[in-house]
Symmetry: C4
Subunit: 126 residues, 4 copies
Amino acid sequence: MSDTIGRLRWVIPEGYIPPKSHGPAPEFTSHEAFCVLNTNFEDAHLNVTIFYADREPVGPYCLTVPARRTRHFRFNNLEKPAPIPEGTSYSSLIESDVPVIVQHTRLDSRQSKNALLSTIAYPCAD
Amino acid sequence: MSDTIGRLRWVIPEGYIPPKSHGPAPEFTSHEAFCVLNTNFEDAHLNVTIFYADREPVGPYCLTVPARRTRHFRFNNLEKPAPIPEGTSYSSLIESDVPVIVQHTRLDSRQSKNALLSTIAYPCAD
Amino acid sequence: MSDTIGRLRWVIPEGYIPPKSHGPAPEFTSHEAFCVLNTNFEDAHLNVTIFYADREPVGPYCLTVPARRTRHFRFNNLEKPAPIPEGTSYSSLIESDVPVIVQHTRLDSRQSKNALLSTIAYPCAD
Amino acid sequence: MSDTIGRLRWVIPEGYIPPKSHGPAPEFTSHEAFCVLNTNFEDAHLNVTIFYADREPVGPYCLTVPARRTRHFRFNNLEKPAPIPEGTSYSSLIESDVPVIVQHTRLDSRQSKNALLSTIAYPCAD
């Protein structure tokens, strides 16, 4: 099974952390997430860059997905070098030192019944 | 990081601006958006063409995504050469002079609790 | 603009027409749709085949997308050779004689507030 | 029609079975599903591996999609070698002995009005 699976660079053009929530935290906190699967037998070191509409990109945010593991990261929880403000348009570029696969998901509970969206991120040609 | 990322042409076959909304504008106004990330160090000039079911395509709509920035455009707000009518099926072709990445999103608040959909747009082979 | 854009064959593995609806018809009738853009200067003739879990595939359903037009087809409305039963799992294969682009969307209004999903269909290598 | 369509390996990075539901079972039971279309004239034998955040991958789950059929599998219903716990982040790798096409869908009815998400899974280069 699983020799090399995935790509080194992924893009999620849509980004927006809804500034309100309904329901118990943390599961119904409005959030935006990217899920990363690392099928390799070595850890994946990620550098995430956040692009904005009206200021310079911010990053890298440094994250690790251990060998043979998945991680579901919430953009809401990124802290260093700077948290992403709520209610603001952004995009993300996710770069890894080994091939991974990335999916984008948002849970929006602003209007009391949660809405969901998801898509496989855009895999860049390496 | 980021030499050339993305493609020059993208397609979103599904298009429909819901004609009703619930909740405060503009965030809960039913809308359809395309998010564009430009990772290049030069501006991206976009030409958008809108296709309809029963009349000639309309365009180009000319938009700019500055270097190293993202823009979240609402189809609702396109004005020249002509606004897109609500409640009408359409498709869009997005062409850029430098590679970009495009994602499609709709927020539908017609029935008081918003629903969401999203997908990476179709990247044409250049 | 637009020399040849798209592919000749597309697949939508997920298929399910929700058997109930809330809200005024036809816009809030639970439905499943595939949107097709034809950027060519000649008509696209589509053959759609429906696959089921427990019986032989049914088709072709013959449809046309005129030159330089889009069509949003509801699976609910396919009639010949046979309508698709509600509440049943199916998949679809969409074949065209000229390249097109296909997106899948469902509106589910069974529980009074509509839910949406969408994804670009799977483009087969031609 | 349909010589070989699809790929041998697919990945769904996002995985989460919502631990609550509203509405009549089984159609409104919160669930996560993967839909598989097999257009071949021979059966597809699937091996599914589930990856977690904090323990070793589990699998293979062995499933069959008969020739010229579709199957909509719920992750909730996988049993051997071990069921997937609710409310837990996971990813899935789906491997087939003949080319198939895979789509990911979740129905989340935790907050009484169901939400939906869907995307074509990530097709690995074979």
